[in-house]
Structures are given as C-alpha cells and as structure tokens.
C-alpha cells in the first residue's frame, strides 16, 4: 500500500472555557481522538454539523494551533514538537482555503500582490520571475493578470475571490489543500464552477484534498472517501460510494435524509405527517462538547440508542459485511441492503423498538 501523504493518529484538541471571574469553568472537547489517513492524490471529505469539531480537526492537522495530544505525520515528517521555521517548512506543502474568501484576502492589497506573497515567503526574489509565476497561477484558476491583477478584493465577485484564494494556496506548490467549507456560501452556478476548477487542479497538479463540509451532497462529486464526524469523534468512515449507498451509522443516515432532493418534486411536497421525513432527536436538547454524553456521543439524539450506548464508547470497527475500509463506531449499526429501502426499514425498526 502507498505511504499516506498525511497520517493523523489519535488527535485530541481541547480548549478551556472561562466562567465568571475568569475561573476555568470547563473544557470544550472539540476533537477527541481522531485518526485518519490521506493518500497522495486522494480527496477525503470530513462531514458534520456545526460544533462537530471538523474545522478544529483541520486546524489541528495544520498545527495551528498544535493538538493537545496525538500525532500528525505529513510527508513522512512528524509535526509534533516542531516550532517556528521548522514547523513552517514542514507544512509548507499543506495549504488552506476558507468559506469566506472575501475576508481571507487583504482588502488593501491588489490580487497580484496577494498571490505573490507566498512566493516572496518561499524566497523567490526575482521580480520578473515572480510576476510570470503569478500570471501562471491566476491563469490556472481562470483569472487574467492584466484584467484582475490590480483589482482589490472588493472589486471581485465571491467566486473570483475564492479563485484568488485558490491561486494563493497554489503559489506554495502544495501537495495537500484543506478546503474548509470553501464552496458552501457560493451561488450554485459559481459553486459548480469552483468545484470543477478544484477537480481540474487535482488531476493536473496531482493534489490531495481534505474537504470540510456540513452537507454530504456538496462533497459527493469530489470525494474518494468520507469521514462523518459528530461531537469531536468520527462516527463512520469509508469509500465514498459505500458510505453514500450503504450508510451504517444512524447519524450518517440522518445527514443523508436531511439533504433536500430534486426527486422529491415528482413525489409532491413533503407533508408534516410524512413519516419518512421524521428526524429523530428533533425535540432533544443539543448535546454540548463541554459536557459530551457518556459512551456514544450521538446517543442522546439516536432513535436506536440502548443502555449499552450509554455505558460503552463504540470504537471504529469494520462494518459487518461491509467493504474493506468501511468503518463505523456504533453498537447497533444500520443494516442496509437496498439503498432505497433505508427510510422504510428505519421506520420499521423504530416502531419495533
């Protein structure tokens, strides 16, 4: 098997919360022991809702800030204990793009200078060479240095801002790009353009991606593998085709069911009494990462939860009868044979319990 580009082992990230009078009041357990690999040329998507720790995980992988415990090995170098220049050198090939591209660009700098900055940092002193490289980079993202090079961020559309941010990330010649909700706030037609651009760059430059998203549908088209995260832990991970067709964790099922589908148009408007749309946990209180539930963290929202889920933390293990690499952390995983039968089978199970 090929050596992974990035390997994270049992990454833990926690932050103290201060209560009244600045006294330490508790600990936000943002990421609690996450292990994952990203292979060269592969796209891994980490999906979860707000507060699941997916962005914190991405930052921990970049050691910005370093995780509380656990190890991240990137391109064969362990980032643990590295500081200053050594850390910067080790993670130069790991770049990040963000949801709000506009605020991630310096409002006063022209586009050409924004894209040139990583080149300067990398020690490219030759002005003409730098300008040529900026031109190439802008060209790669579908912008033109003569038309856009001297513009400021406010003179660009949302999609163009994201293209500039991508060009800046590419300037460091990365092997891995971490895209944190990078297309979530774009209009659907622009979103498609940027997703296609990222796909094109993946093949032409041999990039790997880590996509962070809250919507499983958004990353369907780009993902080789997906990892579903809930309250700081991975619930399910596996080849994208498997996880989308045969989700095993009840939370993955919930995320898939929540995606609005065009096919619904043919079935008619969703009715309030429509049992297939009845989401478990709709009335349950939101679990907090400060006081995560014991055992399985999803149990407070889970329709399948039993006493064992409270007592015992489920470990990521191979899905019974699943394909290789498909892992789930659940005592009572959802068994599915036909991808279309899941809503019915789940309701049967619910009424049976």
């Amino acid at each position: 098997m090929t050596e992974p580009l990035l390997r994270a082992h049992e990454v833990v990230q926690e932050f103290g919360v201060r209560g009244r009078g600045g006294v330490r009041d508790g600990v936000v357990r943002a990421v609690s022991g996450v292990s994952l690999d990203i292979l060269p040329g592969e796209t891994l998507s980490v999906v979860g809702e707000t507060g699941s720790g997916k962005s914190t995980l991405a930052r921990s992988l970049m050691h910005a800030p370093p995780p509380k415990s656990g190890e991240v090995v990137f391109q064969g170098t362990s980032l643990t204990g590295l500081r200053g220049t050594a850390l910067r050198d080790a993670r130069r090939s790991m770049q990040m793009i963000f949801q709000d591209a506009y605020t991630s660009l310096d409002p006063l700098w022209p586009v050409a200078r924004i894209v040139a900055e990583p080149l300067v940092a990398a020690g490219l002193r030759d002005r003409a060479g730098r300008r040529r490289r900026v031109g190439e980079l802008l060209d790669q993202v579908g912008l033109d240095i003569s038309a856009h090079g001297q513009r400021r961020a406010r003179e660009l559309s949302g999609g163009q801002c994201q293209r500039v941010a991508i060009a800046r990330a590419l300037a460091a010649s990365p092997a891995l790009i971490i895209a944190d909700e990078a297309v979530s706030s774009l209009d659907v037609l622009v979103q498609a353009q940027v997703l296609n651009l990222l796909e094109g760059l993946r093949t032409s430059l041999g990039l790997s991606y880590l996509f962070i998203a809250h919507d499983l549908a958004l990353v369907r088209q780009v993902s080789d593998r997906v990892a579903v995260m809930y309250l700081g832990r991975l619930c399910e991970t596996g080849p994208a085709d498997e996880v989308y067709a045969r989700p095993s964790h009840p939370y993955t099922v919930e995320l898939l069911d929540a995606v609005p589908r065009l096919e619904q148009a043919a079935l008619g408007k969703r009715q309030a009494g429509d049992p297939a749309g009845d989401l478990p946990g709709a009335h349950g209180a939101a679990a907090s990462p400060v006081r995560p539930p014991s055992g399985c963290r999803f149990r407070t929202r889970c329709a399948r939860a039993q006493a064992r889920c409270e007592a015992e933390t489920p470990a990521l293990a191979a899905v019974p009868g699943g394909s290789p690499g498909h892992l789930v952390a659940c005592h009572f995983p959802v068994a599915r044979t036909d991808p279309k039968s899941h809503e019915i089978s789940r309701n049967e199970e619910q009424s049976a319990s």
């Binding site: 622009v190 979103q191 498609a192 369907r220 088209q221 609005p260 065009l262 148009a265 009335h283 939101a286």
Partner: protein, 357 residues
Amino acid sequence: MTGADAGGAATTDAGPVLEVRDLSVRFRPRGRDLVHAVSGLSYTVPAGRTVAIIGESGSGKTASSRAIMGLLPRSAQVSGSVRLSGTELTGLSPRALRRHRGSDVAMIFQDPARSLNPTMKVGPQVAEAVRAHKKVSRAAARERVIELFKLVRLSAPEQRYDEYPHQFSGGMRQRVMIAMALSCSPRLLIADEATTALDVTTQARIMRLLTELQERLGMAILMISHDLGLAASYADEVVVMYAGRTVERASVSELFGNVRMPYTNALLGAVPRLDRAAHTPLPVVQGRPPDLSAEVPGCPFAPRCPRAGDKCAQRRPDFAEHKPGHWYACWYPLPDGAAAGHIGPADTRQAAAGGPR
C-alpha cells in the same frame, strides 16, 4: 385585481393572499447609473400554499420581497402593484403599512442571530412583538409567547423565556424568529433564505416545522431561496428569477419534470446531488449575471446561454403562459420533458447555425 374589485373590499377565501403585479424596483446609487433590481415581476400566492422564488445573488429576489414589506430604503423607486388579501400596499403611508406588517404579513431572515437583540432576554423580545400589535397585559403577552414557543417546538419554553439569544443554537434562534413572526397569526409568511445559514439537519427540521404550521394555520408562505432542492421538497410553485426578471414559473412537478428555460435547467444541473458519481465534472455555464445598470434589449441570459441564437440578444422574449400553469420567457426553450440538468447545444437548430455564439 378584477376578482378583488368584483368582491369589493372584502376578501374571499378563493382569492390569493398575495398578488404581485408588474413590480419593479430601481435604485440610484450615489453618482452611478440607475440599477434595475427588479423588472416587471408578477406572481400570486394562494392561501395555504408555498411559492418559492429562486435566484442567485443579485437576481432581485430579496429586493422584491422587501418591496412587499415596504422595507426598502426611501431612495428605492418601487412601481407596480402589491395586493395583500385584496388591499393595495404600494403607496401606503409608513404608518398604514406598519399595521399590515406583523399582523397580516411577517418575515423571517437568514441570520436569526442578527435579528435578535443580544442584550435582551428572548421571551420579552417576542412579547414586545405581541404587544406592538395587540393591546394585552404583560402577563397575557407572556402566556402567548410561551404558547408560541410550544408551537415552534422549543424545549422547556418557560425556562427558555428568560434566556438570552447567545444561549440558543442557530436552529433554536430561528424557531424564536418564527414564533415572533407567528405572534399575530399572519396570513403570509415571507421566509428570506431562512434556513441557508443552518446545518442541513436543522434546515430539514425548520422546513418541516414550517410545513406543519402551514397545515395547521393555513397561512401562505413565500419562500425566497437560492436552493432548487429545497423548493423541490417544500414548495407548491416555483418562480425563477434572473437579472431582476422572472424567467420561468410553474408548479413544482411541472417545473422539475418539464423544464423549458435554459437558465432554470442550468440551475438544476448544478444542484449538489447525492447520486452524482465522484470526479465527474458538473455541468457549468460560464460567465456572470449581467450588470443591472444597463438596460439590455434582449434576453438577459443570452450571453451565457448555450442555446442562444441571434434573435436572443436583440429582442426580449415575452414571459408568457405557454401551457396552462407554466410560464417562461425564451425564444428557444428546451423540448418538453427534457432531462433536468442537461445543458448544451443539443438541438438541430444550433447544429445548422454552426454552434452557439
């Protein structure tokens, strides 16, 4: 208009709750050209039904909904007719308009965090809305708010009454906004990207809540969104806007089954889907929406349209009802029953014309 005139001032159950006719909104930014944000928009929202206005940023969907509520800045020039249960709203004084806002029509917005006062407890904020429209005692208002909190399924409503917005999650804040919007039992609820900032799971819950409330209270919903997938699941009718104009309008099943206008089709093709194979390119239209300060003679989508011919840039196609219940504005519509999401110069006309320009 004729129906309302015939029935006098009284509203009939059969008449639409909202009737927008030829609505236009123009802005004149300081020192710049007039911007035609909305041009000639017409649609109706019947009682108990949901109409979705779909468009990208800058398509005029929000400007049109704010025009209905009278929430645009004074510099905006609004023309056309907006009738709420038969009452003309355009041209009303701010004072008269305020009577309708809240009691007949209410609005919820994308960002519930910014719609709530962070320094004020949640319950009293909603009670304020109740007391603004009805002369009731504080105690009665409190009771009504707790009733509303129960209606929108907030857990522990009595306890939630005395909490601050920061103690609420995004979904719970939006529930509070819905409670506030429902406080005077409006006939029309305008939801402007009300679930866009929420997680997909929370979005599904809020949409289901709105559907349930609609069934119970019989109110009409005007849903403003960029998400066709959302409209497919929760709307009865869809109005697609592009560059300030309506380009297609039909019932959900008709629109998604027989899309005719290439722009709508492009939107459908770009919707993130769960059944799309990995690493397949998404169908894409190049370019950007036109500058709204310049009046274009032809179809606004023509420069980006894979099906456009010479005629499209010169003459604007009429927005007409080509089939009962299906309106669109296009010279070269897709064939009836075209596969959703397919774009491209697929017909013989373009092959003969030598491909798209």
